[in-house]
């Protein structure tokens, strides 16, 4: 059950390799689609970092290096599946159809949300570490009770894997055989804390102790991520219970724009991972196996550029909301204490008329 092998279907050089349990049957168009997804989310992420550095966003959590883990898992989801992200899953949000501008609203502090979770079957970014895993398991238990043909996927990191919430969610998922797939993106660093200090065993081994399968995947291999995630989701829908997928990857950039990774990790390590880039290997595969030309790659790049400019325009057009907006959705219905707080804020001249 515990395999020390990393599931990999595509080497960093872009060559396919065989795996005893998994194989990719995606074709030219589908692989090009994954490539396009990854190029676009990386470009949008770069633009977002720039916007933060220009004072237009309060914060940004870059995803560079984790494109394959997010796109592979996100594209494996069926339309009615529900996903519960952390705060770095912009790639997953993209696969769910969330407009990029809506992803940035919370980072510009113009809203406490950003989109309608039901519309995209994708919940709002969870900043409290690991909380979303409990929400996901609870939702999955609801799916069971509805008898729906849906699976649930939740995303968290190696840092969150040390949180009690995550471990409790494992217990509940196992006990109820809930249709949930845990995607642990092990990007090696919990801000400045290396994974080696947080765990003495490979993280995917933990699943075994809770009574469900764990699998480690090359998180920079979008084909492997897609296949492993798809099988885990199918298994969940078929009543097979939870799976822990450890996407073994690397955070190429900072934890957030408030972080400076050069203070705690060495360039040589980053350099090693640069050679494992998730996008380059797919590009190499497309060029070699399907004869995709430079013109096509240029088209994708141009599309990404256009989307980045559009994103910038959309963000700059976002106005600051009335601060009293924060009282709007504390409770589903009006609450006297919350309303008193709102009134007081208005009296103090902080908020506007509402």
């Amino acid at each position: 059950m515990i395999s020390d092998e990393l599931v990999q279907l595509l080497t960093p050089e872009g060559e396919r390799i065989a795996h005893p349990e998994y194989a990719s049957d995606l074709g030219h168009e589908e692989i090009l689609g994954l490539y396009r997804d990854m190029v676009i989310v990386r470009r949008l992420c770069n633009e977002s970092t720039s916007l933060q550095r220009q004072g237009q966003l309060a914060l940004w959590a870059p995803l560079q290096g984790q494109e394959a883990a997010q796109i592979g898992a996100g594209r494996a989801l069926a339309p009615m599946d529900f996903s519960f992200p952390s705060y770095r899953e912009h790639g997953v949000a993209w696969t769910r159809g969330v407009p990029p501008r809506d992803m940035l609203r919370i980072f510009r502090a113009t809203t406490t949300g950003g989109w309608d979770p039901q519309q995209y079957r994708h919940s709002l970014p969870m900043v409290v570490l690991g909380d979303q895993t409990l929400h996901a398991v609870g939702y999955a238990m609801g799916v069971q009770r509805d008898g729906a043909d849906e699976a649930v996927m939740t995303f968290f990191g190696d840092g969150a894997s040390s949180q009690g919430d995550v471990l409790e969610s494992f217990v509940w998922a196992a006990s109820f055989n809930a249709p949930v797939v845990f995607v642990l993106q092990n990007n090696q660093w919990a801000i400045s804390e290396p994974t080696s200090l947080q765990t003495k065993i490979p993280l995917y081994h933990r699943a075994h102790g809770f009574g469900f399968p764990g699998v480690r995947v090359d998180g920079n291999d979008v084909l492997a991520m897609y296949e492993v995630a798809k099988r885990a989701l199918d298994n969940a829908r078929a009543g097979g219970g939870p799976t822990l997928i450890e996407a073994y990857t690397y955070r190429m950039g900072a934890h957030t724009t408030s972080d400076d990774p050069t203070r705690y990790r060495v360039d040589a390590e980053v350099e090693v991972w640069r050679h494992r880039d998730p996008i380059e290997r797919v590009k190499a595969l497309l060029a070699r196996e399907y004869g995709v030309h430079k013109a096509t790659f240029d088209e994708v790049a141009a599309e990404a550029e256009q989307l980045a400019l559009q994103l910038r325009e959309d963000v700059l057009a976002m106005d600051a909301p009335d601060p009293t907006m924060m009282f709007d959705h504390v409770y589903a219905e009006a609450h006297p204490l919350v309303e008193a707080g709102r009134r007081e804020m208005i009296e103090l001249g902080i908020g506007g008329s509402h």
């Binding site: 309060a58 400045s192 200090l197 203070r263 007081e344």
Partner: protein, 448 residues
């Protein structure tokens, strides 16, 4: 064509300043959108700032090594009319000179800081609560109408007692207004007869230290920001200007009575008065009577500069450290205007939004050590000034009246001066003048 000004943004959730590490463009360069302009170092990180505009660089503010305040103009770019979309930061902000303000604020990144000069993290630093800061998407105007800091119960308490919370000075952490502050305001205790020094403080060089038992055996703290500017100024002054000092203890009955009499007057509603208000008036009055006090020694020019305008520096203990902003033209202010100016100076300093301009061209200073419950101090001069007056706590002490010893409110005044141009006779006469003002402000005001 139009000019767009890129103001230094807060790149790290509550930072107040950044140091310029390297310019990547020069005046005259044509830059594209997102082209790297400059590397800056903040308390948290060294980061590259990409250009928010495409166009031609027409001005760079600050040189390598300069510490810039968040919100200050950094780069001016001449943009074509077509790039009107990217004009989020083109306010009419004044041209702020690079200044050494702020810093030392402990990083507020979610999670733990890391050990300096240590690639592998071996110990954790104290987790620090994020400072209040509206994560303003628009980088302009960081000082405008900052709401007073307090907590809802204290606001309510103030409201119930008819106290305008905006007039209360916060003594809590980072200037937070506590219930005690409101109570003091209700009691009208603007001149506390007995001050109290805090029983413990872990605040040091603008940061929170770990406790004696949990902190590392030895800790090295980089000298930056306010700490660096304080260190530079003190060394420059202490070893550049020969200091001498005089001091005097005076009866403060007249000042205490005056403040008492003014309390609650409609014309002074919302204005906080304290002995410092009277001392500030006294110091300006002394400058008028002894103009040599308001002088500086210009060594390179071999000239003594006498100024007939007082820019009165008030040493302010802020969460970021010691800063000395000044009140421009303080000698032209009456009592009410002086009180308002001091209140504003203190509030702005505590809020961390003192502008570089407010710290330039000080001519004469006051350091009010009374609130720290000490009797006096021998201060070091702010560089480029001739004298600084320290004010101790006003407290009842034994005082000889006739042949009797009676309890009277008294205060110790001391003055450090630059002995190159100011001699002991002038300094003594000036401090005595200030003392007489404190003892009998009424007499001084009507024509003393």
């Amino acid at each position: 064509m139009s000019e767009s000004i890129f103001l230094l943004p807060d790149v790290g959730e509550g930072l107040v300043e950044a140091e310029i590490v390297a310019w990547k463009v020069a005046v005259g360069d044509v830059v594209t959108l997102n082209q790297p302009l400059v590397d800056i170092e903040t308390a948290k990180a060294t980061v590259e700032l990409p250009s928010p505009y495409a166009g031609t660089v027409t001005a760079l503010h600050g040189a390598v090594g300069d510490v810039m305040v968040v919100g200050a103009p950094l780069v001016v770019i001449e943009t074509g009319a077509q790039s009107a979309t990217a004009s989020p930061s083109t306010p009419a902000a004044p041209d702020a000179a690079p200044a050494s303000v702020g810093a030392g604020r402990t990083p507020v990144l979610v999670g733990y800081g890391v050990a300096e000069d240590d690639a592998v993290v071996t110990r954790r630093r104290r987790r620090v609560a994020p400072v209040e800061k509206a994560p303003a998407p628009v980088v302009a105007s960081v000082t405008a109408s900052r709401p007073t800091r307090s907590t809802p119960p204290v606001r309510l308490y103030a409201k119930q007692h008819g106290v305008d919370i905006n007039t209360v000075t916060g003594t809590g952490r980072d200037g937070l207004i506590t219930r005690g502050d409101v109570e003091r305001s209700i009691a009208g205790a603007s001149a506390p007869a007995t001050s109290r020094a805090p029983e413990t403080t872990t605040r040091f060089v603008g940061r929170e230290l770990e406790s004696w038992s949990t902190g590392p055996l030895e800790e090295r703290i980089p000298v930056r920001g306010v700490l660096r500017s304080m260190a530079d100024a003190m060394v420059q002054s202490a070893f550049g200007a020969p200091h001498a000092a005089v001091w005097v203890r005076v009866e403060a009955t007249g000042t205490v009575a005056l403040l008492e009499g003014l309390r609650g007057r409609p014309g002074l509603a919302g204005v906080r008065l304290s002995p410092l208000t009277i001392v500030a008036l006294a110091v300006c009055d002394a400058a008028r009577h002894f103009p040599g006090l308001n002088s500086s020694f210009d060594a390179p020019a071999q000239e003594v500069v006498v100024r007939r305008r007082v820019n009165l520096g008030i040493a302010a203990n802020t969460p970021r450290g010691l800063i000395v902003p000044n009140i421009k033209g303080a000698d032209t202010l009456d009592l009410r205007a002086m009180a308002v100016a001091i209140n504003e100076l203190v509030d702005v300093a505590r809020a961390g939004t003192t502008t570089p301009e407010a710290m330039l061209h000080t001519t004469l200073s006051i350091t009010n050590v009374g609130p720290f419950a000490v009797d006096g101090a021998v201060p070091i001069l702010p560089p480029g000034t001739g004298a600084i007056i320290a004010v101790g706590q006003v407290a009842k002490r034994p005082w000889v009246v006739g042949d009797d010893v009676v309890a009277r409110p008294t205060v110790d005044l001391s003055m450090s001066f630059d002995h190159r141009q100011i001699d002991g006779a002038l300094a003594s006469a000036a401090i005595a003048h200030i003392g007489r003002f404190i003892t009998d402000p009424a007499a001084a005001i009507i024509g003393g």
